[in-house]
Symmetry: C2
Subunit: 313 residues, 2 copies
């Protein structure tokens, strides 16, 4: 089944302790799509400027990603400049040039409207909600957000969160959203906001899914589920890893005939797998060159490093 994703399609200028890259392709919807496309058909809604050439678009289309919903506006594309220091656990924003993204008004192409799966990648929450309302019959709607919207646009964000089946955020965002240190307490408060489930990403420590509603098909009772991350020695660039986690997670779900607890859990493992590839090179470089067999081999490795029930003695 196909996924529609709405979010940024952008250029990133990145500095890590070891390297610098200017204006490489990025954006939340871009990274999500590059990851989810291994699992299912992906249709992108976004906006780009005159600097987004046919060559840039081809990095999506040649991988089967539908770009019908990417609007070409007059001006420059969204451009984020960021830096990572030390353990690279946090991105420092040096500059955000919204450009054509500043007046983005997402339009859903006719050919997208039959999609059953909708992912609202990190953008301004009223835009997320406007797209969400155009998919009243979606089977599953998931979304992400970021500190900026939590801190300064909370009222609007809460309206979007209430319409989600799955909210996918990280530890810091969960704490900021609720004012709670403890992640279980934070998770409970988030779920009172309306989503049926919550996936909290812990970076190098994996992710935890929380459920409040036993009737949610991905939930097994209300017990949480923890998926591991792969211990990685050389993180080249964490940009987009969270979006690629979401792409693997939601892509796997959309590829399955039915959402069951087992599918939801397996999807979290695929999320971790895609996130682990994402950090190995800059931006989406590693994932663009990835082979499906590598994904399956790493999925196997994720089980191997976390499961007791192995054939070994």
């Amino acid at each position: 089944m196909s996924i529609v994703v709405v979010g940024s399609v952008a250029f990133d200028t990145l500095t890590t302790p070891k390297e610098h890259r200017a204006r490489i392709q990025g954006g939340a919807a871009y990274h999500f799509a590059q990851s989810a496309r291994f699992f299912t058909d992906v249709k992108v809604i976004g906006v780009v400027g005159n600097d987004f050439t046919a060559e840039h678009e081809a990095t999506l289309t040649k991988r089967g990603i539908d770009t019908t919903g990417i609007e070409h506006a007059d001006g420059l594309s969204f451009h984020w400049t960021g830096e990572y220091k030390g353990a690279m656990s946090e991105a420092i924003t040096l500059n955000t040039e919204l450009n054509v993204f500043g007046s983005f008004d997402p339009k859903v192409p006719e050919s997208y409207k039959s999609s059953d799966y909708l992912f609202l990648a990190n953008i301004e929450p009223t835009l997320q909600l406007r797209v969400r309302q155009q998919f009243p019959n979606a089977k599953l709607v998931a979304g992400d957000t970021m500190n900026y919207w939590i801190a300064d646009h909370k009222a609007n964000l809460l309206k979007t969160i209430a319409e989600l089946d799955v909210l996918v955020i990280n530890d810091g965002e969960a704490r900021l959203l609720t004012g709670e240190h403890n992640l279980v307490t934070a998770a409970k408060k988030v779920m009172e906001m309306g989503p049926k489930s919550l996936v909290i990403k812990h970076g190098e420590y994996g992710a935890t899914a929380f459920f409040c509603d036993r009737s949610f098909p991905g939930a097994m009772n209300t017990v949480p589920f923890r998926a591991p991350a792969l211990p990685i020695e050389e993180v080249v660039d964490p940009t987009g890893a969270g979006d690629m986690f979401a792409g693997g997670f939601f892509g796997y779900i959309a590829s399955q005939p039915e959402l069951t607890p087992r599918v939801f859990r397996t999807a979290l493992f695929y999320g971790g797998v895609m996130g682990s590839f994402a950090v190995e090179k800059f931006g989406s470089e590693r994932v663009q060159e990835l082979m499906r067999e590598e994904i399956e081999a790493r999925f196997k490795l994720f089980r191997e490093i976390s499961h007791l029930d192995l054939d070994a003695a």
Copy 2:
């Protein structure tokens, strides 16, 4: 098989955001023993003062823990005063009164010498080494340490670490010991120091075991293994949770006929299980009242929250 543990048997005065407790029983060897005794026979080496009464000793002996090796010296017992703030992720030491522990010279009773398993709980590293040398034929030797010894007694600590089969430390200690942010890089550096394996505890995120030596019977190749922690809403007191993790981990290993990769992995799960009980009440209160069935039920829960291969759809 029995375990000998050497370390502090002490009193703790603790302040958490919600509560205060004065002079409750604690110490690394005490907590370790209270946890490991569910799995195997435990023999303690330590020193206490005149304030450690028969009633205090009975909290060990009535649970089958051998206290022959606890020396009664003239003076007061080791007394640690600590506080936890906010997320309670770090203990703030307010006062350390070594008392009789300051001149502790561990003596190994004859009846302890046939034990095959030795755990060097957190004490001054030359004392750890002196005890270790009295068990030249131990099947498995594991140990812990803390920031203080890493920062100020590193040369001595390295001599002890070189003699360990398993070093059990936390994220912060691994980083301090190696000067490396990245835990995989840190793990590699630690293993160059001589231990056959390394367990890094991540607190609420679980633990990771690293192996450098394929011939180590607990290793499956050199792939790491990650065990989860239980998401816990109300952490009452984290004091001793690390020692109880070690007690569950090492106790389970000692209870098994042979160290295999499967035993090592399962032991990490039991470590997490015991750590998860430890934080539910002050000091060892929760673990002292624990029933074996509760341990097995929680072990099952640990599998349920982390394994894909369940009977559920």
